[in-house]
């Protein structure tokens, strides 16, 4: 029976008249990656801030390592690592010094810190940058350093707020690989993201939220299979809307977003065959993904505000 690392129970939070977190519950186990996905303003960062004790929920409870928050905040933070959305590295210190200084905040002994720094630099692929300052590093390197720093106290729980936002594709892949390693090592990760590929790749389970409310929960593939047809055919170009009308019958569901028509079909072949008759159209056939899920559940695209 794995330990419940983080349990949020029926959290509510209002700012003035607007409800930002609405009856949110989640349960994170050791070795698991739970993703909270939703558009900007969905309440993801507010939820993280409540877990960090920076905000008090209006109602509901938060428990980490079976200790209630905020009463045991100090003890919880000792076992937790945090990577914020925006870098908070010390610009005046080198990479190694950043790690050392941070280790002291946890009350770690000099010996422990000395031992951990080379390991963390290696984990972050920054061994050659030990004496470099954050200003000399690329965005991806800084994010890796932030992740390395968050591990100085060997936490059992990691909170990552949009860990790869702002990174180029190569840097994102390196981050994902590192996070996979941590999960294999038994750490629990709670991350927030609005990237569907990240959610699908990293997360064992997802919590899809919109306007502070959970609208779906489950493993990524499971959610897709549960709510969506297996295939999507995107059609755009001249005459796309006419094609929509003509080919509607071949698809289980059709959506029009802007200039693109989305056909959702569990059996896409007849549809694709019909579309071959329209050579001016651009056709993209792909499996259903979480963007489609979000679109279906909320009627909106995840990056629309």
């Amino acid at each position: 029976m794995s330990e419940s690392i983080l349990r949020l129970s029926r959290l509510h939070k209002k700012f003035g008249a607007s409800v930002v977190v609405d009856d949110l519950s989640l349960d994170l186990q050791a070795g698991e990656c739970l993703g909270v996905i939703g558009p900007n303003g969905a309440g993801k960062t507010t939820t993280i801030r409540m877990c960090l004790g920076l905000l008090a929920p209006d109602s509901g409870t938060i428990e980490a390592f079976s200790m209630p928050l905020p009463a045991h905040l100090g003890a919880v933070k000792r076992r937790m690592g945090v990577v914020s959305q925006f870098d908070t590295l010390d610009p005046d210190f080198t990479c190694a010094e950043n790690l050392a200084v941070y280790g002291r905040y946890f009350g770690l002994s000099k010996a422990t810190i000395r031992e951990r720094i080379p390991e963390l630099l290696e984990f972050s692929a920054l061994q050659s940058k030990a004496a470099a300052r954050p200003g000399e590093l690329s965005g991806g390197m800084r994010r890796r350093l932030s992740l390395g720093r968050a591990l100085i106290n060997d936490p059992d729980l990691l909170l990552l707020d949009e860990p790869t936002t702002g990174l180029d594709p190569q840097a994102r892949h390196v981050m994902w690989e590192r996070l996979q390693r941590l999960l294999q090592g038994g750490k629990a990760i709670l991350l927030t993201t609005h990237f569907m590929d990240e959610a699908e790749r990293l997360c064992d389970r997802l919590l899809v939220i919109d306007h502070g409310r959970k609208i779906a929960e489950g493993p990524p593939r499971g959610l897709i299979e549960q709510h969506l047809e297996s295939d999507v055919v995107e059609v755009y170009g001249e005459g796309a809307s006419e094609a929509a009308v003509k080919c509607k019958a071949y698809a289980d569901r059709t959506e029009v977003r802007g200039e693109t028509v989305f056909f959702y079909a569990s059996r896409p072949q007849p549809l694709l065959h019909a579309l071959e008759a329209e050579p001016r159209l651009k056709v993209l056939h792909r499996p259903a993904n979480l963007e489609d899920l979000f679109l279906k559940l909320t009627g909106r695209q995840i990056r629309e505000d």
């Binding site: 905020p70 908070t88 010094e97 002291r104 946890f106 009350g107 002994s109 010996a111 968050a150």
Partner: protein
């Protein structure tokens, strides 16, 4: 080797709860010291050059015109007051510009609050650090005063512990304004409308008795006046006429400043 433990009951204390200061302040203070060490030389020069130039220019320049003021050569009169001002300005500058950079721009405080260290400890460390900065500044100026033979009184070194309290008082007051700031420009108002007038009203450049009666009354309430009353006699080797009163004024400013700064800073972070 056992790890040091920083225990904190809760971060979501009421805004008005008493300060909960633990040993957690120490790594934060140490961090600031380590950064300073990298820039130590330029920092000291920056903090010390202006007061020294002013001292030399006015001290010798005006001194040759004024002769003795309050029973001492003007250069001594000015230098001993200058020390108090430099302490106050140095602590204020650090607790405003540098603290704001750490708090808001670099988000250093945010990173520290993700560890077991609390806001109460961070603010305490920032106050202490600003006072330490001011002592470093003041020590350099005292050494120059000694080297230039402006004063060689043995009691001048006793001014250092007093200046610690001065530094703490001005750091605390400045931290109140740091809590309210939305940008660096705000601090310009503080220097122009608060610190600069204060330096002219506190008996640094000329005796308070030269001012109209009502202004003298105002001056008696200012922390810088209290500082000068304590520091000038010590630096020039005279017996202070007032000790308990000015010291109490400084301590009260330090305590009130810290408490108010803490409430406002808590409000800024926890809403």
């Amino acid at each position: 080797m056992a790890a040091v433990v920083f225990e904190s009951k809760s971060m979501l204390v009421s805004l008005y709860a008493p300060p909960q200061i633990t040993r957690g302040f120490w790594p934060v203070l140490l961090r600031n010291l380590l950064v300073w060490r990298k820039l130590a030389v330029s920092s000291v020069i920056g903090n010390v050059a202006e007061p020294l130039i002013t001292l030399v220019a006015f001290g010798y320049g005006l001194g040759s015109l004024l002769g003795h003021v309050h029973g001492m050569p003007y250069i001594q009169y000015l230098a001993s007051g200058s020390i108090a001002v430099s302490c106050a300005l140095s602590a204020t500058f650090e607790a405003l510009y540098s603290t704001y950079s750490r708090m808001q721009v670099q988000r250093t405080w945010e990173s520290i609050m993700n560890t077991p260290i609390t806001l109460d400890d961070i603010l305490f460390a920032e106050m202490l650090w600003a006072a330490v900065k001011s002592i470093i500044t003041v020590l350099a100026i005292l050494l120059v005063i000694f080297a230039l033979d402006i004063s060689r009184a043995p009691s001048m070194w006793l001014s250092l512990p007093v200046l610690c309290v001065v530094g703490l008082a001005f750091a605390s007051i400045a931290l109140v304004f740091n809590a309210l700031a939305q940008g660096y420009e705000f601090f310009t108002y503080y220097f122009t409308l608060v610190m600069t007038p204060m330096t002219f009203l506190s008996g640094v450049y000329f005796p308070i008795e030269q001012m109209p009666g009502w202004l003298q009354g105002v001056a008696q309430l200012l922390p810088l006046t209290a500082a000068v009353k304590l520091v000038r006699p010590l630096v020039t080797g005279q017996t202070p006429t007032e000790v308990g009163g000015p010291m109490l004024v400084l301590v009260l400013y330090a305590l009130a400043g810290y408490c108010l700064a803490l409430i406002l800073t808590r409000r800024r972070f926890f809403g």
